[in-house]
């Protein structure tokens, strides 16, 4: 009998207590189809995938609905049969390859374990099968890599191992839960390409869960948008991207690619100059902690940040871009080079020479906002305590408590938060709100330069757009300069005046946004740009 659907979810409703988490969703996945489930965090997309695997936490109950895999209702299967379904018929790959692999087991053995368990293979045949799987997912020297441990592999390779593990028992459906979110753009492009080729070769259906419209555009055959536990729109890919009708979908699509208006190039004075900056970390080994080598995190970087302007520092993880931010803040020791901060009264001050005491007056001029809004705020302090801390420590503004309270109210207003929030604790806020609190904390000491260390990469696209807008309006109002550290190329035109591209601790190319984005010279820059999802390239280079 010809089957036209692999999986069908029918009127699924999930509850936690009285609250409805998933509200009556239905969809079907056809053979060899990539079905993308898109939504912001908390929209219920991961819960749907867990429900398919029947791995929901106990507190969440299935209220009604069915999940049918090949005419087999998964909710009616006893647990021991369900165990055969998992892995053999439906396999899953996760967002974080670092935590999904057992760190004390050889990667090859971890994949072989699945084969032995589900297919009953013997040791030697399992090994051969694993090696061929590793070759299929593009792991070089597969025979040798079999005996490696997870920490010896890069993030992309770990994700390939996860995919090999998922493919091991030749499932009919692969659930990929944000498989590329933790990866760099170039590696993301490779992994996506791999998934597509596997689909073509094996005729595998993929349920692809993501929040990234760029990835959806690359991958999907069919797209469904989830919001607050409901599927609000579902269509073929072409139709979806051309004629999305729901206002929320339109907004998502619009925010997915930030506006691409280049900023005017202004003449401005230098605020901060990095001159051949080097930060090396010693590698210590042995009983007496001898230094056996150096990690050159930053290796001879020269940059200029101008007053009232934004310099975007782009690079992949491990390229040393965050270390530059920390070196400017004197949170790591610089090995060599100069960090000159413009001083209106006299000559520029070299920050690397200063002691902590001499640095203190400059601390109020240079502030920082962080990537992860959940770890950037002390969970045991109220919002007003968090914002007040810098004002007290650096003696900015009036030290009168009442005046400070007024200033906190003013700051909260400025970053778009309500004044009554100030007595609450960070855990009561959403990611975007926390990021705003972080911005208010930095603004409280009236800085001239703010180092933004990936401030938007942990946020949903709609929230990202709002935060970027806020940063821009603050820049205009206070003539702030930003050092904007990011791996996300799509937001650069929206925020930056100049761009510097980093690779392995060195700046390989720098210039205006226009030069870099439209006429990249260095091979690495070209590779970065071509790895950006097509959806973004389409708009960027239109």
């Amino acid at each position: 009998m010809f089957e036209s659907t692999v999986l069908s979810v029918q009127n699924l409703v999930l509850n936690i207590g009285e609250n409805r988490l998933i509200d009556d969703i239905s969809f079907e996945i056809k053979p060899a189809e990539i079905f993308a489930l898109v939504g912001e965090s908390g929209s219920g997309k991961s819960l749907t995938s867990l429900a398919i695997m029947r791995l929901l936490p106990e507190v969440i109950t299935v209220d009604s609905g069915n999940i049918v895999l090949h005419q087999q209702n998964l909710f009616e299967l006893p647990e021991y049969q369900m165990q055969k379904v998992r892995g053999k018929q439906v396999a899953m790959i996760f967002q974080e390859p670092m935590t999904s692999l057992n760190p004390v087991m050889k990667v090859g053995d971890q994949v072989a374990e699945v084969l032995k368990l589900h297919l009953g293979l013997r040791n030697s045949t399992a090994r051969d099968k694993v090696v061929s799987l590793f070759e299929e997912v593009g792991i070089p020297q597969a025979e040798e890599r079999y005996d490696w441990y997870p920490h010896q592999l890069s993030g992309g390779q770990k994700q390939r191992v996860m995919i090999a593990m998922a493919l091991a028992c030749e499932p009919e459906l692969l659930i990929a839960d944000e498989p590329t979110t933790a990866l760099d753009v170039t590696i993301q492009a490779q992994v996506l390409e791999l998934l597509k080729s596997i689909r073509d070769k094996r005729g595998l259906s993929i349920l692809f869960i993501t929040h990234d419209m760029g990835v959806v555009y690359e991958m999907a055959d069919t797209v469904a948008v989830m919001k607050q536990g409901k599927i609000i729109e579902q269509a073929e890919k072409q139709k979806f991207f051309n004629e999305a009708s729901h206002p929320y979908t339109q907004k998502l699509l619009q925010d997915a690619v930030p506006k691409q208006i280049l900023k005017p190039q202004l003449d401005s004075t230098k605020l901060l100059e990095l001159n051949d900056l080097k930060v090396h970390f010693p590698i210590k080994k042995g009983l007496f902690q001898r230094t056996v080598g150096m990690v050159k995190a930053v290796d001879g970087v020269s940059l200029i940040i101008e007053k009232g302007q934004t310099l975007a520092l782009v690079g992949e993880s491990g390229s040393g871009k965050s270390t530059i931010g920390q070196a400017i803040l004197k949170l790591v020791n610089t090995t060599d080079g100069k960090v000159s901060y413009a001083n209106p009264d006299s000559e520029a001050i070299n920050l690397t020479d200063l002691s902590e005491r001499q640095m203190k007056p400059l601390r109020k001029k240079i502030q920082v906002i962080f990537q992860d809004p959940f770890s950037a705020l002390n969970p045991r302090m109220t919002v007003s305590e968090i914002i007040r801390e810098g004002m007290v420590s650096l003696k900015v503004g009036s030290q009168n408590r009442q005046d400070q309270d007024n200033r906190i109210d003013e700051l909260l207003n400025q970053v778009g938060l309500e004044v009554d929030f100030k007595h609450r604790y960070p855990h009561e806020f959403s990611g975007g709100q926390r990021q705003r609190i972080g911005i208010a904390r930095a603004l409280a000491v009236e800085p001239e330069l703010i180092i933004c260390d990936e401030p938007t990469s942990a946020l949903d696209v709609t929230v990202r757009a709002q935060v970027l807008e806020l940063l821009e309006s603050l820049q205009k109002q206070y003539q702030l300069s930003y050092l904007f550290i990011t791996h996300d190329l799509s937001i650069i035109p929206a925020i930056a005046h100049k761009v510097a591209v980093m690779q392995n601790g060195k700046v390989v190319e720098q210039g205006t946004v226009e030069q870099i984005m439209h006429n990249p010279q260095h091979k690495y820059t070209q590779k970065l740009l071509s790895s950006a999802p097509e959806l973004i390239r389409k708009v960027m280079f239109a």
Partner: protein, 456 residues
């Protein structure tokens, strides 16, 4: 009578003051208050806390000492008596000759006596201080116990209803003040009332009957086992509570400095605790106790009384236990501090130019509190048990000092006796078991509420 303060008295009262200060601080902070409300919403936690308070109260009452001049009036034959001793004076005075079972009217072992005709007879001699009001009539004992039980129940009922009335008055006042605007989920007060009632009832029952019987029997030299068990509470609470107080500052200061400053400070502290950890704890304690014993015996004139000497030995034991038990918590705090100091809010604080001590106080300590509290409560029960083990081995508290460990140590021989003497061991076991169980259950609940990672 002169009030005297032993070292351990001062320490236990400072512990009491510390707890009061802690409670006041919690009460002044809305978030903490909410958290602790959650702790007490559990019925188990409520019961455990009331039991712990009961033990602590007895230990406190037993920690106010008076010096008594040896004189004809001083019938207790002791130089130092506590308030608890005053309440239980009849138990101190009603010393028998040797073993007697609970509620027995005769001795447990037979004695050889000559009757009037000069024949040798094996008889169970009657006890000296029991059931005088019913003329030691065995047939009346059951009836007498029953009536006294009734009285105890009645007294407990009256005391309890009085307490409920007072408490109810404050509760209703609070509710009236709060209006109906904010509805707060109530604490399980009914469970608290029931626990308290049972405790008061048992307490009164023991107290009333202790005038006429040896409720838990007597030991080898005829001392009342109930009195011994009650006196042991102070020793147990002291060792459990004060040792944690001794080790806490060490663990805190060393653990946090190692984790925060890293570098050579970390190296030194790590070497210190790995070295200390690699010496068996019992060996270290035994060595220290033996050294101290020899010092004490050569300088007997340093101590005014046997009680003072026993107290000194207890204090020393507490110190040495504290010195050996800080490593675990220190390790834990070091690891956690290492982790927290990498978190971005600490980086932000550094970017504000805060000095290291302010960062530790404001950003690191508050995020360690749950670990500290959990470790404290768990260590408490561990240490109470450690005392029993050490006294059993013979390096624990002074043999003249009542403690569960000493009672168990003596019971070693009693268990081998035929017929067996079981009441000493059982009493020590039950008193210790209830305390340790309550502390553990309470710790579980505190851990569950304060640990941010636990699932709610």
């Amino acid at each position: 009578m002169m009030p005297t303060f032993l070292w351990t008295d001062i320490m236990i009262w400072s512990l009491f003051a510390l707890i009061i200060v802690g409670i006041r601080q919690i009460a002044s902070d809305a978030q903490k208050r909410k958290q602790w409300r959650k702790v007490f919403k559990s019925k188990t936690a409520m019961i455990s806390v009331i039991i712990l308070l009961f033990y602590f109260a007895i230990a406190l009452v037993d920690s106010i000492h008076f010096k008594v001049e040896p004189s004809a009036e001083n019938t207790t034959n002791k130089e130092l008596i506590s308030v608890l001793d005053m309440g239980l004076e009849h138990l101190i005075l009603s010393v028998e000759r040797t073993y007697s079972a609970p509620f027995a009217l005769n001795e447990y072992s037979s004695s050889v006596v000559y009757d009037q005709s000069g024949n040798v007879q094996q008889v169970y001699l009657p006890l000296k201080n029991v059931a005088t009001h019913i003329n030691m009539d065995q047939s009346l004992v059951a009836y007498d116990v029953l009536t006294q039980t009734g009285w105890a129940f009645l007294i407990a009922l009256i005391v309890m209803s009085f307490l409920i009335l007072i408490h109810g008055y404050f509760r209703f006042k609070e509710i009236a003040l709060r209006q109906s605007s904010s509805k707060v989920e109530g604490l399980p007060w009914s469970v608290a009332y029931i626990t308290l009632f049972i405790l008061i009832f048992i307490g009164t029952w023991f107290y009333l009957l202790s005038f006429d019987y040896h409720v838990l029997g007597t030991n080898k030299v005829g001392e009342d086992v109930l009195y011994q068990s009650l006196k042991s509470i102070r020793t147990g609470v002291l060792i459990g509570g004060l040792t944690t107080i001794v080790m806490l500052p060490l663990a805190l200061v060393l653990g946090i400095s190692a984790g925060y400053f890293k570098g050579w400070i970390d190296d030194v502290i790590q070497y210190l605790y790995t070295t200390l950890n690699s010496i068996p704890g019992v060996l270290l304690i035994a060595a220290a106790v033996l050294v101290m014993q020899s010092i004490m015996s050569t300088h007997a004139d340093w101590f005014g009384s046997t009680e003072e000497r026993a107290d000194m030995r207890l204090l020393f034991l507490i110190l040495i236990l504290g010195m050996t038990s800080w490593t675990g918590l220190c390790r834990l705090l070091r690891a956690e501090t290492l982790k927290i100091s990498q978190i971005e809010y600490v980086t932000a604080a550094k970017a504000f130019g805060l000095n290291p001590f302010t960062i530790i106080r404001r950003h690191i300590m508050p995020n360690l509190v749950h670990l500290i509290l959990i470790a404290l409560v768990l260590d408490f029960s561990g240490l109470v048990l450690a005392e029993a083990v050490l006294s059993y081995v013979g390096v624990g508290v002074d043999p003249t000092m009542p403690s569960w460990g000493n009672m168990i140590n003596q019971a070693r021989l009693e268990m081998a006796r035929e017929p067996m003497v079981w009441w000493s061991l059982l009493s020590a076991f039950i008193f210790m078991f209830v305390l340790v169980l309550a502390a553990n259950l309470f710790a579980d609940r505190v851990q569950w509420v304060l640990n941010p990672r636990s699932e709610k």
